[in-house]
């Protein structure tokens, strides 16, 4: 993390293969302008990247063409801090992992940036601020802060602010602890700018950003008898515009839209989105593969995007009986489910994201592949996030999985897929075609540079 692009020229291949567990990226999130990109890892660290701004533009060549906004900016490390530490639950004698499960940025209100980060139990609000000026010329203290000898002070001076090197300070502003018995899987900031929700396996709480010792429980699906437990909450999100609406997904593949105006405890959903099961394709793994691993509202607030093990689905908020679009992410795994159950891969939780205009959806897969689907044409493309082929400014090429029929050169066979290289976490810039893909301990940032000569956009890359 934080490695600059220069070092990619040196052959670090033996170091590259060694992955420190703590460096595995566990969450990626752009802020609301897209200038900042935060990543969290298994070691509890957060790294914030900032996009460099280029004033004016000078065309250097086809691949380096600057976009219309005048920013060709690459993302560089802005700040790094330790968000969570490993903890221990003395009552249950179990460790609490410091792994950052989710990061969510608050909308910017002043010069500082605020983000929420959470591990399994505790949510923290961090303030990220810049300091580029320093007061100098105190009367009673010298530059190092030592008290001056009074006899040396002969005249009075007014301290002035002088520019210094940019310093980024990160401070914890709130710690929201003891809100969850089970593991927190989602946090979502409300459009009201004052509250946010946090969801664990069985409950969803609503917090006020300013109050840490209290939270509202808004959903509780814990059965009176734990032995009757058959369903857990897997993800939750507030509606982007309506501060009273939120959605949560379950391990049985259903989505529930809840309206907080209806009642204080939203155990009864306002809308239940469920696709009836196809009796012909029922198997012992049907329920497991239907478990929703991620749910995201579209930017316009009219659709929901969900990801289960084999598909990505788009739902219309006005239609509860089934998704309006279904995209097969890696259907060739359908016949391998038993093997994937054995090695636990079937429980992998893939995220999904919308692009800024809600016309394209993206999600991850195995073998460092990720998929993009154009909603208008229904076509999908497979791309690969891999260091060897991703030199800076290289163009991403599409990949194909060979599932039968005519085999083309470069096709990858299903049996040669590497299931340890999974793309679980990703983010799409809120306004531009820039995507951030996390692959184990690597972060890839791909930027769309639309070339005027060709129809298809190239995707340039910037590996960190």
């Amino acid at each position: 993390m934080g490695e600059d692009t220069e070092s990619s020229k040196v052959n670090h291949s033996f170091l590259r293969d060694y992955v420190t567990e703590a460096d595995v990226i566990s969450t990626v999130e752009f802020n609301h302008t897209g200038d900042l990109l935060a990543t969290g890892d298994k070691g509890g660290r957060v790294v914030v990247f900032q996009r460099e701004t280029v004033v004016g533009h000078k065309p250097k060549g086809e691949l380096d063409q600057v976009g219309e906004t005048g920013e060709s900016g690459e993302y560089n490390v802005y700040s790094t801090f330790q968000s969570h530490e490993p903890d221990f639950d003395y009552l249950k004698s179990l460790e609490i992992e410091e792994k950052i499960n989710k990061i969510r940025w608050l909308p910017q209100q002043n010069a500082a940036h605020f983000l929420l980060s959470t591990n399994d139990k505790t949510i923290k609000l961090w303030k990220v601020s810049e300091r580029d000026k320093q007061p100098e010329g105190y009367n009673l203290k010298d530059e190092e802060g030592r008290v001056k000898d009074i006899s040396t002070v002969t005249s009075l001076q007014v301290p002035v602010l002088r520019p210094t090197d940019l310093m980024v300070e990160v401070r914890p502003r709130r710690v929201f602890s003891n809100g969850h018995t089970y593991h927190v899987n989602s946090i979502s900031v409300n459009s009201d700018g004052e509250t946010y929700l946090s969801a664990d396996d069985l409950r969803i709480n609503m917090w006020h950003l300013g109050i840490t010792d209290r939270s509202f429980n808004i959903v509780d699906i814990k059965p009176a008898n734990m032995e009757e437990l058959t369903e857990v909450i897997t993800a939750a999100e507030f509606h982007p515009h309506h501060c009273h609406l939120f959605v949560y997904s379950s391990s049985k593949g259903s989505l529930r839209l809840c309206d907080m105006r209806a009642s204080a405890l939203c155990d009864r959903h306002t809308k239940l989105f469920e696709e009836p099961e196809d009796p012909g394709s029922r198997s012992f793994f049907s329920e497991i593969v239907s478990s929703v691993s991620d749910v995201k509202f579209s930017h316009n607030g009219r659709y929901l995007l969900t990801r289960d093990y084999l598909t990505a689905k788009v739902w219309d908020l006005h239609m509860e009986k089934g998704p309006v679009e279904t995209y097969q992410v890696h259907d060739y795994l359908r016949t391998k489910l038993c093997s994937l159950y054995e090695n636990d891969c079937i429980f992998d939780k893939f995220e999904c994201v919308w692009n800024s205009s809600d016309s394209v959806i993206m999600t991850g897969a195995y073998n460092s592949f990720f998929r993009m689907f154009d909603r208008e044409t229904g076509r999908g493309v497979t791309l690969e996030a891999w260091r060897e082929t991703s030199k800076p400014r290289a163009v991403l090429r599409t990949r194909r999985i060979y599932t039968g029929g005519k085999r083309r050169r470069g096709d990858v066979g299903v049996d040669s897929l590497d299931f340890t290289k999974k793309i679980l976490h990703m983010a799409w810039h809120p306004e531009e075609n820039i995507i951030a893909i996390a692959s184990t301990n690597n972060l890839y940032i791909f930027q769309d540079r639309v070339s005027p000569d060709t129809q298809d956009p190239d995707l340039g890359s910037n590996t960190i």
Partner: protein
């Protein structure tokens, strides 16, 4: 001597009729059973130093429940419980015995065959071939053992289980002993399902297993009032609690077994 070659009997697939449908049913039944075994082991071995993933545990438990429902439906569940009698205090580690099948079980016939899903080096390996009914992947004994896919902090548990495996294999010559061992074990796993007379509609068997495995982890209340207040829920503690929560098994019998395992471990490590 002449008699050795006198009657060449054609080997039959099990001793069932050659009808294709019967074979298919038996195959499906075997696959389903191995899936059940795999799921039970995943449930038992799923806890680590950190709390296990609840979503995963719930999904696995639902799969077990689904299989059990189906097996109850076609009557094979009855055969399993009948074959292995009622539960009693068991000296054996449940998970290990579930892993190790004895030849005595196969000879009981009729009921679903129990197959080990794992391959241990130097131990009997089974090749589980699955078809579209479950999936279309063949995973051979050469595949890494399931325990190997579980987190590294299970090294100790793995070694101990391998030790017991060796012991069972050595003892498999004496069918009675291993048969009994397996009987009590399967009885413990499945028989305990019958103990609790749950509310109608709910599944007592699964609840018993599930409550022993999960409730103590995820429910603070249950944890505080749980039968065993072990300071740390390591693998043995879980298995102990399973054994002791059903029937009058005392910890001492389990402990004797553990010291036996320690002894075997020393022999193995020593060599």
């Amino acid at each position: 001597m002449a008699n050795m070659y006198s009657k060449g009997t054609k080997r039959k697939f099990y001793d069932s009729v050659d009808a294709a449908t019967d074979n298919k049913a038996a195959l499906y039944s075997r696959q389903r059973q191995s899936l059940l075994d795999m799921s039970l082991i995943k449930l038992q071995l799923c806890h680590m130093l950190v709390e296990p993933n609840m979503c995963r545990s719930v999904l696995i438990a639902n799969t077990v429940r689904h299989i059990q429902e189906e097996m109850t439906h076609d009557g094979s569940w009855q055969l399993v419980t009948e074959a292995f009698g009622s539960s009693g205090p068991s000296d054996h580690l449940v998970a290990t015995e579930v892993l190790c099948r004895s030849s005595a079980l196969e000879q009981q016939g009729g009921g679903p065959k129990l197959y080990s899903v794992m391959g241990y080096d130097g131990c009997r390996e089974e090749e589980v071939v699955t078809d579209e009914a479950l999936c279309s992947v063949t995973f051979s004994g050469g595949a890494p053992s399931l325990l190997g896919t579980i987190d590294h902090c299970w090294d100790r548990a793995e070694l101990r289980m391998a030790a017991v495996e060796d012991r069972v294999i050595k003892d498999s010559g004496s069918e009675v002993e291993s048969g009994e061992g397996a009987k009590t074990v399967m009885g413990q796993v499945f028989g305990t399902f019958e103990i609790k007379n749950g509310a109608p509609g709910s599944d007592p068997a699964l609840e018993e297993l599930f409550s022993a495995v999960d409730a103590s982890y995820y429910d603070l209340d249950t944890m505080l009032t749980s039968i065993q207040s072990t300071p740390k829920m390591g693998p043995y503690n879980l298995l102990d609690s399973m054994a002791s929560s059903h029937g009058p098994t005392s910890n001492s019998s389990c402990r004797t077994d553990l010291s036996e395992l320690d002894h075997i471990m020393e022999i193995i490590v020593g060599s």
